[in-house]
Amino acid sequence: MIAIIRLAIFGFVALSVVYWLVSVYSRSERREKLEKEFDAGGVEGSRDDYVSFGMDHYQHGLRRKLIVLVYIIPVVVVVVTVYLVNYQ
């Protein structure tokens, strides 16, 4: 029993690090994309406004929420493994 709790705690900490890394990466990719879009021309207004508006959209978008899968997928994999190994 202790082992499961330990796995849950360490797993949560490790996955939180991964979550943080992935969200930083994803935000960085989106910012770069917005900057390149603006630099390609044809957009009115200032560059900073365009980027911050786009980033605001990203903050409330689906893509950012999908990063939660970093937590969900490993838990599903563990549950499926437990089932296949012990109950088949």
């Binding site: 082992a3 770069e32 493994t81 012990n86």
Partner: protein, 212 residues
């Protein structure tokens, strides 16, 4: 220098390959001949190949009762599996049904005259020199000794690992491009500005010196 680099990468690849070969599940088509428990003493040289002491079937770090399964390959070479829980950390099989597996193995025992062929999923190596045994994960009866089993789990795990390495590399490159390179550029710019300032002082000193 290039030779050292090559040697380094070859050693890394060998270690990673051996590690994956040990940890990933593989299938054996065998006929089970015997199942039993044996009090086994584990030393420091082979402790890494046994269940860690806090799992269900491992009562002690040094001496414990271990379930074994003896089997025969179609070509009459033999193999001995251990049957231990893996616990909840490593390797991540989360196996805790060793007793049931032992009962199944006992039920599938057969003789050479009336063979029952089974597919044993196992991980690990059999090294008689170190007294280590592969750990049996599951047992399934199969039609005959010639069935082919597609190793889906290793295929999927290797694809996922390759994807994770690819993503980690992309994240690293992105970090370098967006954070480190601009910081270096800024530092160089600042240095240039500083050189301009001290350059001006130097020039001023130079004019002063020339006067005197």
């Amino acid at each position: 220098m290039r030779k050292i680099k090559w040697a380094f990468w070859i050693i890394v690849i060998l270690f990673v390959g051996a590690f994956l070969h040990y940890e990933l599940p593989r299938h054996d088509i065998v006929r089970i001949t015997n199942t039993y428990n044996r009090l086994t003493t584990i030393g420091t040289e082979n402790g890494w190949a046994y269940a860690s002491p806090d799992t269900g079937t491992a009562e002690s770090a040094t001496t414990r009762d271990i379930r074994f399964i003896e089997a025969v390959f179609p070509d009459n070479t033999v193999i001995v599996y251990r049957n231990e829980d893996t616990g909840w950390v490593w390797p991540p099989y989360f196996k805790y049904d060793s007793s049931n597996l032992q009962a199944m193995a006992g039920n599938l025992k057969s003789t050479e005259a009336a063979p029952k062929w089974v597919s044993v999923t196992k991980y690990g190596w059999r090294f008689p020199f170190l007294s280590i045994y592969p750990n049996a994960i599951s047992i399934k009866e199969v039609a005959g000794p010639d069935v082919t089993i597609i190793p889906w789990v290793p295929i999927i795990v290797l694809i996922v690992l390759a994807f994770l390495i690819f993503m980690a590399r992309r994240m690293w490159l992105q970090f370098w491009e967006r954070m480190v390179d601009p910081a270096i550029a800024e530092a160089e710019e600042a240095q240039d500005r500083a050189r301009g300032f001290f350059g001006r002082i130097g020039a001023w000193f130079a004019t002063w010196r020339r006067k005197s």
